[in-house]
């Protein structure tokens, strides 16, 4: 079978990429002398893909359908997939995010058998009114558990404040009401559109060879006719939906999330844009920054403070999150610092330091089979390479960062989410 071999000498890493005849894209990154293998298969069907055109037909599904489908695929006619993996000793799981659903296992032995289970799972949809109804109780419990989780709520509420129309403003699991509308027909329609192997990717890293993976793929994967499945998103205005959202929960220390919304095309950011944002955020808000110090000195944050970049089809937002006794004041200071940042830009010294830090993080992401598998799946969905990051980081300049800044962190376009205690 034709495969592409891609190596990076500096990192001492090699991976192989294959378009399997079944339609599945397969990426394998063997790690010499490792004891475990990590396999991750994913499709770009997440909570935001609630409206799509599949072979010419427009489909709209209830909120929470992607997550519901993940639960239902994780069990087969014979029962829960955990029972199947229990016989191989693999540790298995599945998760749904905003823009994808992934199924995974990690094992030290019986890799072939575990991969067979994984392939069977995603190729054996089995939905009846009874099995679909049965899941409503357990997912309802999951939704309730998340409702008590301040870390989750502060983040989900922020997205509600940021997005007016884009389905990023919906909880990934949907609501007790929305999941009640899910039927077997809905699940089959989503399955046929997004779980077609042409629309999926498998990444395996660790104690594994390309041949081992291909042998299982050849024996287990059924050839799929390509289908075109295109998600449709509503127009999203540039402006945030509302500047402030506050909820009361039993917390001892209030939590905040401050998001700066950007213009977001339906494409993912390029790898260069993504890396430049990482450098920018490390220089501006990392532990060595003037902002971090000022927030600490004024007792407004603790070591839980972090910044991150949330990006995908139709959404791009920089998020600052933390715990604070005075969350409003913390947010105010960050906003003031953002205004100054646009006046001064990042300094050469801050850039030099942040660049090394981002390079170190990139190199060490090749440490564990799990992080490698995630790196490759995310790169595939975002349609960029993985090793290219090394070249981009070798060439990136301060001007690139300050140019990037001109599209980001608009102080006029941010929203604050607060979780405060119950008096």
């Amino acid at each position: 079978m034709n495969y592409t071999e891609i190596s990076n000498e500096r990192l001492g890493e090699t991976y192989y990429q294959v378009k399997h005849p079944s339609g599945l894209t397969i990426v394998v990154c063997p790690k010499k002398d490792y004891n475990s293998a990590y396999a991750l298969i994913g499709t770009q069907f997440g909570s935001i893909n609630s409206r799509f055109i599949c072979n010419g037909k427009t489909v709209t599904v209830p909120d929470g359908t992607a997550h519901y489908l993940e639960h239902k695929l994780f069990e087969s006619e014979e029962g829960d997939a955990f029972h199947l993996y229990a016989k191989t000793g693999a540790s298995a799981n599945a998760f749904t995010s905003f823009n994808n659903t992934c199924y995974l296992f990690s094992c030290t032995d019986q890799f072939k058998e575990s991969l067979e289970i994984l392939f069977d799972l995603i190729q054996s949809p089995y939905f009846t009114p009874e099995t679909v109804a049965k899941e409503q109780g357990i997912i309802g419990q999951e939704i309730k558990m998340y409702a008590d989780n301040p870390d989750w709520k502060v983040f989900i509420n922020l997205l509600q404040a940021l997005y007016q129309n884009h389905p990023m403003n919906k909880d990934i699991a949907g609501s007790v009401e929305s999941i009640a509308e899910i039927t077997p027909e809905v699940l089959y329609e989503c399955y046929n559109g997004f779980y077609n192997l042409h629309n999926m990717v498998l990444c395996v890293a660790g104690k594994v060879s390309l041949d081992e993976v291909l042998a299982v793929a050849d024996s287990k994967l059924k050839n799929n006719e390509p289908v075109s499945t295109e998600s449709v998103f509503p127009d999203e205005p540039y402006a945030v939906a509302k500047p402030l959202i506050e909820e009361k929960l039993p917390v001892a220390v209030p939590q905040f999330a401050l998001g700066f919304k950007e213009n977001a095309p339906l494409e993912y950011p390029t790898l260069k844009e993504y890396l430049c944002t990482n450098i920018l955020l490390d220089a501006f808000g990392g532990t060595g920054s003037a902002l971090y110090r000022r927030l600490l000195d004024e007792n407004l944050i603790n070591s839980g403070f972090s910044s991150s970049y949330l990006s995908g089809p139709g959404y791009r937002t920089v998020v600052f999150e933390g715990e604070s006794r005075e969350p409003r004041r913390a947010a105010e200071l960050i906003q003031e610092a953002v205004v100054r940042l646009h006046e001064t830009g990042i300094s050469q010294e801050d850039f030099d330091i942040a660049l090394r830090s981002v390079y170190g993080n990139f190199a060490t992401s090749f440490e564990s089979p799990a992080s490698i598998a995630y790196e490759f799946v995310n790169a595939h969905f975002a349609r960029h390479g993985v090793f290219e990051a090394a070249d981009i980081l070798a060439a990136v300049t301060l001007d690139d960062i300050n140019e990037r800044l001109s599209h980001q962190l608009d102080p006029q376009n941010c929203a604050l989410s607060l979780i405060t205690g119950i008096e």
Partner: protein, 420 residues
């Protein structure tokens, strides 16, 4: 590969070296172990954060963190935990392996120097730690203690242990009590520093591809000449007069039920593994008795899991439950425990648990952090097996051994956090 090379470099101080060239990172850590007690726990915890905030050479938080960033985003962090009735303070540095630096820098040597600076040459003002560092870290530590309340699963587990072990050191918790942190003086923190360096059990660890000789000799020099008299022990109780119940209410949607039990605390490696297997069969995996019956078949909980603490000889079963089901869930959990004690373990259950425990042991060899934890926790509890050797013992464990251990389980405390 990944085998432990252990050398006692001076009284009470061991240097543990694990040579491994597979990783992109190198790691050096100092683990300082002392008895957990109310008098010193808070000071030790606060000290560990103060120490990693600055040092004489990098005298403030920003200078130190910029140094770490320029060392390719190296990490320097304290971790404070309990192991039975011991308080375990680890200060670790981890950074890019020298082979992967852009200009051939020796990050490993710089990180070793940084660790010595952090431990032995802190920034002192008039003979004590600076007000700024102490007050900053005191505030953050109190916020961390308070934040345990934010996550109700953690909070309910902590409350169960506090009630169950109220007369035992481990009830104090890893950070000590909140009010003790508030009351700490400069003298308390200074004496915690001296005591931790001079009279604790010290387990040093170096993992990665770098040559350990220089670091080992440097550390020998730093730690030598201290008459270490610390004695470490853990109370293991196995007599329970009656089950005690505690209930709190909170504005939450899903209630929490945490059941605390006394169980065996075996010293022999094979018995510890058997105890771990027992916990896995009962509620440690997605095919365990609790998961399958209480969660899946009876739909009484969203999660229902057991964890065995071998060192302390306690087992906790924690679950997230709808309030109306809380009594039924407790009965269903006790029923599964009764079955286990009666030896109702299928071959499949035993085999599944063995595979899961082996998988987890062998996987730990693929991470420097997990390797460090395996070996250091091992040597502190008298277990010196490599993950591979421990995994090899798993197959020999019998149903009878597990049933025997299950029969030693006694219910002690039930803590419920009830939603409105």
């Amino acid at each position: 590969m990944s085998d432990l090379n252990r050398e006692l470099i001076c009284e009470g101080v061991a240097f543990n070296h694990i040579a491994d060239t597979r990783f992109k990172l190198g790691r050096i850590s100092a683990t300082l172990v002392v008895p957990l007690n109310r008098r010193t726990a808070a000071a030790n915890a606060l000290l560990s954060f103060v120490l990693t905030r600055s040092c004489r050479l990098y005298p403030d938080f920003t200078a130190l963190n910029r140094k770490l960033s320029s060392l390719y985003g190296a990490a320097l962090y304290p971790s404070v935990s309990t192991l039975g009735d011991l308080q375990v303070i680890t200060i670790a540095v981890a950074g890019l392996d020298d082979r992967y630096t852009l200009q051939g820098e020796t990050v490993s040597a710089e990180l070793a120097e940084l660790l010595y600076n952090i431990l032995f040459d802190p920034k002192l003002v008039d003979g004590h730690f600076s007000d700024e560092d102490v007050e900053q870290e005191r505030r953050q530590l109190i916020e961390m203690i308070d934040a345990d309340f934010n996550d109700k699963r953690t909070y309910a587990i902590n409350r169960c242990i506090e009630n169950m072990c109220r007369d035992e050191p481990n009830a104090i918790g890893r950070f000590g009590m909140r009010e003790d942190v508030s009351a700490l003086t400069h003298e308390n923190i200074m004496s915690a520093w001296k005591q931790l360096l001079n009279d604790s059990r010290v387990e040093l660890a170096m993992l990665g591809s770098a040559d350990p000789t220089r670091v080992r000799e440097d550390l020998r020099g730093h730690f030598a000449g201290k008459p270490r008299k610390v004695t470490l022990s853990t109370i293991v109780k196995n007599d329970v007069a009656e089950v005690r119940r505690f209930t709190e209410t909170e504005e939450i949607v899903q209630s929490k039920l945490v059941m605390g039990f006394r169980c065996a605390s075996p010293a022999v490696p094979a018995d510890r593994i058997a105890n771990t297997l027992m916990g896995a069969i009962l509620g440690g995996t997605p095919t365990s008795k609790l998961f399958l019956n209480v969660r899946e078949k009876q739909s009484l909980c969203y999660y229902c899991a057991s964890r065995v603490n071998n060192t302390k000889g306690i087992m906790l079963i924690d679950s997230g439950v709808e309030t109306k089901n809380i009594e039924k869930a407790e009965e269903a959990i006790m029923e599964q425990l009764r079955l286990l004690k009666n030896g109702c373990i299928t071959d499949e259950e035993l085999q599944n648990a063995k595979l899961a425990v082996k998988n987890s042991l062998i996987s730990s060899q693929d991470s420097l952090g997990a390797l460090q934890l395996h070996y250091i926790t091992g040597v502190l509890t008298g277990q010196t097996l490599s993950p591979q050797e421990a995994a090899a013992l798993v197959d020999g464990i019998t149903k009878d051994q597990i049933t025997e251990l299950a029969r030693q389980i006694k219910p002690d405390t039930v803590f419920s956090l009830i939603g409105n």
